[in-house]
Symmetry: C2
Amino acid sequence: MARVVLGLIGFGTVGSGVVQLLSHQKSLNLKKIAVLDSNKERAVKTVCPVTTNVNEIIEDPEIEIVIEAMGGEHPALEYIRGALERRKHVVTANKEVLAKYGPELFALARQKGVAIFFEASVAGGIPLISTMNKGLEANEIAAVTGILNGTTNFILSSMESKGESYDAALKQAQQLGFAEADPTNDVDGHDVAYKLSILSALAYERFIKPQDIFREGIRNVTAQDMAHAKEFGYRIKLIGTSRLAKDVTSGDSACDVRVHPMLVPLDHPLANVSGSSNGILVNGHAVGEILMVGPGAGSLPTASAVVGDTINLASALQLPDFATYFQPNIRSEWGNVVSVGSWSCPFFLRILVSDTAGVIGQIGTILGAHKISLASIVQKGVQKDEHGASAEIIIMTQSTKEQTLRDAIAEMQKCSFFKSMESLFRVFEAPV
Amino acid sequence: MARVVLGLIGFGTVGSGVVQLLSHQKSLNLKKIAVLDSNKERAVKTVCPVTTNVNEIIEDPEIEIVIEAMGGEHPALEYIRGALERRKHVVTANKEVLAKYGPELFALARQKGVAIFFEASVAGGIPLISTMNKGLEANEIAAVTGILNGTTNFILSSMESKGESYDAALKQAQQLGFAEADPTNDVDGHDVAYKLSILSALAYERFIKPQDIFREGIRNVTAQDMAHAKEFGYRIKLIGTSRLAKDVTSGDSACDVRVHPMLVPLDHPLANVSGSSNGILVNGHAVGEILMVGPGAGSLPTASAVVGDTINLASALQLPDFATYFQPNIRSEWGNVVSVGSWSCPFFLRILVSDTAGVIGQIGTILGAHKISLASIVQKGVQKDEHGASAEIIIMTQSTKEQTLRDAIAEMQKCSFFKSMESLFRVFEAPV
């Protein structure tokens, strides 16, 4: 078999791993690597020529597959688009570009008769994309739920195991290379939102606009929250989910797509996905529930997905018109989301109230008036400050619609006993 | 797209699930079902004609894909072979036929230019085959290890949670339909051995003859063993593994392939795979470790894998010569295995000795002479019977070569203090 000629764009963490793994693949010929700065020291040595002119890859008629491993929105988008327009197949790890421009890019690929492979864009080395795309082909997917960001899982795991603050855990993650100097993309949930858009496209045939996805990060999670959660039998994890729902107003099918911290029961497998690992539950109507756990990031695990895609693509290249087989059924319009308030789950609240008799009764009355059932309500202790004595109350509700809970909270906040809302967490229940 | 015409052989548990799921697939046309007994009541209704003459499927030129869901060695082997010889693609859930005749059948498929899809043959609904075959394509697999049989996992889980005997748990599993009337295939590890042969073919390109696989079932596991294991922080699971090893005599690559009960640390994910679920760890040189957990058996989960395969196959049928893309790299010769004695792990022993002073010292001396380090040695209690007083001793060793341990045990058995070997379990360590 003739060797398939490749071009690589990006020679950072992922690109270095790709170069390393490709060196063992005799049927693949890496012809050129495009980088932004040709003088930068690289982690991996290669005899492959390096250029700062990406057109030497995109416009080279000999190159059949372009691997995009630079990340970020621009100019990666333009490079991917340019490669597809020149009828080159693309392998990419770029969740941001796919989430923001997926409908356009997959339509372009179909039009040009080429394929986009993107196993590395979600869950690093875990073969989640091929599982959703091919392995569970006979299933209608009811939900995809899990821990999809290694950085935040590392931070939350350290906070819990060492009892340390978010800031201390973040700093350590940065020193160890698990978090970037500007951690916004990870800790505020953007990265998970991109991945949920891609998973929604595979599960429900439509990408979700990242700005439509409800997003709450981990900046406000405290060591105290961790300790309280543990006392109640839970662990705090940043959970992303995309579930099939019905839009109540239109009746159309829509998705409940969201990323936020959740209290996960300690005996649930997701609670035991620690450090920088990822763990994902997929619920299909025929198979039931599948769990996949593995390294969600890192040079070689991510490169494992990129190079796996490349090998699969290259071995299919000899088939005429094979690309249609690899074009997932994704519609060109964006998907709809339901309001975050329309979904139900149990809630965990920590509030400060004035330390006066009858407060618990008043809270119970307000919640009851909203038909919210309590699982437990506990007063944790009394503290004194310049505003008088405050009591800390922890409330765990039964499953209730989020909008109903919000209405009840708004009512409590009007009461004279109410001092402040310290924390509000959603509680994980098995999806569906 | 023209509808792809299918024939189904077998209308039992798996076949019924297949019929049910196929009814939602508009691009697939199930033309006929072959059964052994046409008068039998079926769980699922279908308008599809049913025949007792399998040749109406195998010899029908219109049928492109034959789904074999009858199980067992004969006549399933002959039907699969007959379908391949007539250039029909085959989707099968039959681990026994693949494990025993894999080299011949895959060679025949290559020769005839057709594909064999077999996702359902291992781990039921978990897409493990496609993950090994495509998802982890860039990896050299170091080990595949896990809980591969739902029946035995159900029995062991009930024994532990209810403290009941093997016989009681088996009986209950039979009543609930989780175990067959003759449970040999499951409880003696044959089923796992077949699956390990198939996984070895995917990981190391060679099937392993089932009779070459070291096999120890769960018949001798007692509730007492379970309780002792728990006390030491372990849970007993039936673990199958195939690991790349070196044959010390020839220097050739060979596999360590085996199925036996093991003590799994309680905090390891495999310890928490309960009931009839399966859980598998795959270790790849690039990705590290991937865990997959899900339903390992059952009508719809297994049918999910069968129908997923069928959809993937059918959508590729329009590509000329596509079958090579789906022919895994499997050599036609059988793989070699290393002796079970050549692998190392920690061991858990429970022995009865005469209740005399200095016995623990003597045991320690014998183990020490064989350079076996102890993790712990504990006397659990003294019991009296017609042969005098006996003490129960529990020994946990550090990792040691199994042959070395066997030599040491043989030496102990010659000593006057030795009464009987009550249990011997290998202890799970993370593979590689």
